[in-house]
Amino acid sequence: MLNNEALLAQLEGLFTSNILSSEISFDMLTVEVPATSIHEIIAQLQKDENLSFGFLTLIGAVHYPDSTDREFAVVYHLDSWKNNVRLRLKVFLPLSNPSVDSITDLFPCANWMERESYDFFGVIFNNHPDLRRILNEDSMDYFPLRKEYALEDGTREDKDDRFFGRV
C-alpha cells in the first residue's frame, strides 16, 4: 500500500527533473511531465516492480484556449493494483504542434482512447498504428470538443442567441 505522499516521493526519486509540478487533490496525485518524455515515464512506471502501474484507466484531452503554448493537455490516469493507488499524469502541448508519443505499444487499450482524443481535439499521437477518427465521420473537417466550436449548429438561422440569454 502506498499513499499519495509516499508515491510522490518515489516519483521524485525516479524522475527528478522530469517532474514539472505536482499536486494532491481529491485523493489523487497529479504530476505534470514534459511531453517529450511521457512515453519513457509510462514505460518505466509500468515496468518498475515496486510501483507496477499495470493498468491504464483513461486517456483524455482538455482544451485551454487562453493559455498560450499550453493549449492542450493530455491526461493519463494510471492505476497500480499492487499498491492500490491511482496516478494522474499530465502533459501540455502547444496549438502550433499538438503532438505527443503514442503509448499504444505499452497499453493496447490506449489505441481507441488516443483515436478519440485525436477525433475530438486534434491531438496527434506519434507512432500510433491507425490514427483515424473514431466516433465522428471521416469527412468532418473540425475537432468538435475544442472550445471555439459552439454546441449549436452554427449554420442554423432560426436560433437567435439573444433570445437564450447568450450574446
Partner: protein
C-alpha cells in the same frame, strides 16, 4: 469501409459481388451495423475463410450523441439524464456514480442511510443488467425461453425503480446529496417480496442453462481471452474477472460504504463465454446477498445530505420560506457555487469500471467531463477474441461481452 475496397471498387456491393470475393477463398462480409444478432448498432467487417474468421475490423460511432460536449453546456444537476443514456441496462448505477462524483467535488458529508439506499439500488441495477446480458447469451445459443423467463424478475426490479423515482429505463434516480424521498411503504413491500421470490426463480432459470450440455458445448472455449491480454486491453468488470483477474472497484476503491458488506468476487478460469456467463450468474447471487445485508442493517437517519446549495428544498418550504425560494431558483437555473478542481471517481458499473473525470473551473457548467466508458475500452479486444472462431461464435462472444451501444458511442 477499409482502404483497399475504396481504391479498387466503386461501391461495397460491387466488392461483395466481385469475382474475386465469390471465387476466392476469402470472403468479406458485414456483421452489422443493423443485424438482429448484434443487439445494438455495431459494424464488424469480417474476412472469413469458409466459416472461420480471419480478421475483423470494427466501426463504432453510429449513435454518437456528443455527451461530453453537451455536458459542457449544462449545469451540474442537468447532467444526470445524460448519464442515463450511457449504459441504459443499468442506468441507476450511472446516475448515482455521477452524484457521487459531484459530492466528492463539493466534499459533501453523506449520511450512512443514503449510502445503504444507494447500495440497494445499485445492486438491483446490477442484477437487472446481468439478467439481460445472460439471458441474451441464451437467445444467441438458440434458447429463447431463457430470454423470457428472467424478464418477469427484471420487471419487478423496474417496478422498484418506479417506486423510487417514477421512471423505469432512463431513471434519473436520486439527486446530488441523496434522494428526493425516503423508501416508500410500497417499496418496502415490493423489495421484501422480491428478496423472497427472486432466489427461487433465479435458481430455476440458472438450472436451465448452467449444466445444460448444449449450452456448455456452445459456450465453452468460445471467444476466450487470457488474463494478460485482458489486462492489456483494459477489460474491467465481469469480463476481466472471467479471465481470472480479481479486480473490482467495489473492493479496491470502495465507495458508498461497500466496505461494510461481506460478499465474494467470483473469478473465472478460461475467460471464455461460459466463464463470463458463470461469473455474472454468481455476481447476481452476491448482489442479492449485499441487498439483504444492506436492507437488514439499514441505518436510521436522513435520506438526504445537508447541502442546501445543491439539494432542492422541499416544496412546502419553497412556498413559505424566502431562503428556500432563493435556493430553489439558484439550483433550477444552475447558479450553484462549485469549487474549482479535478475529480476522478469510478464505480463498478454493470459491465466494468465506469469513471467520471470532471474538471471544474468554478463556473456553472463543467469545464470538461469525460466518461470512462468501460465497453468503449474493452470492445477493442473483440477482433482478437474472435479470430479463428466461427461467425456464430462471434455473435455469442459479442453478447457475452455486454457491449452496450449507448455506452460505446457516448
Amino acid at each position: 469501409m477499409n482502404k483497399e475496397k475504396e481504391t479498387s471498387y466503386n461501391s461495397p456491393s460491387e466488392f461483395y459481388n466481385s469475382k474475386e470475393t465469390i471465387d476466392g477463398d476469402i470472403a468479406t462480409i458485414n456483421l452489422g451495423p443493423t443485424h438482429p444478432a448484434t443487439h445494438g448498432i455495431f459494424q464488424n467487417i469480417l474476412k472469413v475463410d469458409g466459416e472461420k474468421i480471419i480478421s475483423s475490423e470494427q466501426t463504432v460511432g453510429y449513435i454518437h450523441r456528443a455527451f461530453e460536449k453537451l455536458a459542457e453546456r449544462r449545469p451540474y444537476n442537468q447532467i444526470t439524464p445524460i448519464t442515463d443514456r450511457l449504459n441504459y441496462c443499468s442506468s441507476p448505477i450511472n446516475n448515482l456514480g455521477w452524484h457521487m462524483t459531484m459530492e466528492k467535488l463539493i466534499q459533501a458529508e453523506i449520511p450512512k442511510r443514503v449510502d445503504y439506499m444507494r447500495v440497494i439500488i445499485m445492486e438491483l441495477a446490477r442484477i437487472a443488467d446481468h439478467l439481460i446480458c445472460d439471458s441474451v447469451i441464451g437467445v444467441d445459443t438458440g434458447a429463447l425461453t431463457s430470454f423470457f423467463y428472467p424478464f418477469q424478475e427484471r420487471e419487478k426490479i423496474y417496478e422498484l425503480y418506479e417506486e423510487i423515482c417514477g421512471a423505469r429505463l432512463t431513471t434519473n434516480i436520486g439527486r446530488i446529496g441523496g434522494f428526493e424521498r425516503d423508501f416508500t411503504p410500497v417499496f418496502h413491500t415490493k423489495l421484501k417480496s422480491f428478496l423472497k421470490t427472486f432466489p427461487k426463480a433465479f435458481g430455476e432459470w440458472d438450472s436451465m442453462l448452467a449444466r445444460n450440455r448444449i449450452f456448455m458445448d456452445r459456450t465453452r472455449g468460445t471467444g476466450p481471452i487470457s488474463p494478460e491480454r485482458a489486462l492489456a486491453y483494459g477489460l474491467t468488470g465481469p469480463n476481466l474477472r472471467a479471465a481470472g483477474v480479481d479486480y473490482d472497484v467495489r473492493v479496491m476503491h470502495p465507495y458508498s460504504s461497500y466496505e461494510d458488506f461481506d460478499f465474494i468476487i467470483p473469478v473465472g478460469v478460461n475467460g471464455d463465454t461460459y466463464d463470463r456467463w458463470m461469473v455474472r450468474q454468481e455476481e447476481i447471487r452476491q448482489s442479492v446477498r449485499i441487498i439483504e445485508q444492506a436492507y437488514g442493517n439499514m441505518p436510521e437517519g436522513s435520506y438526504k445530505a445537508d447541502v442546501p446549495d445543491f439539494y432542492l428544498p422541499d416544496k412546502a418550504e419553497v412556498y413559505n420560506n424566502m431562503e428556500a425560494l432563493i435556493y430553489h431558483f439558484k439550483i433550477v437555473m444552475g447558479e450553484m457555487e462549485v469549487p474549482a478542481g479535478e475529480v476522478y471517481h469510478s464505480v463498478e458499473g454493470g459491465n466494468g469500471e465506469l469513471g467520471y473525470y470532471l474538471i471544474s473551473d468554478g463556473g456553472r457548467t463543467p469545464y470538461r467531463l469525460q466518461f470512462r466508458r468501460p465497453c468503449f475500452i474493452y470492445y477493442q479486444a473483440y477482433p482478437e477474441m474472435i479470430t479463428g472462431q466461427t461467425i456464430s461464435d462471434a455473435v455469442i462472444t459479442l453478447s457475452s461481452m455486454n457491449v452496450i451501444a449507448g455506452e460505446l458511442d457516448a
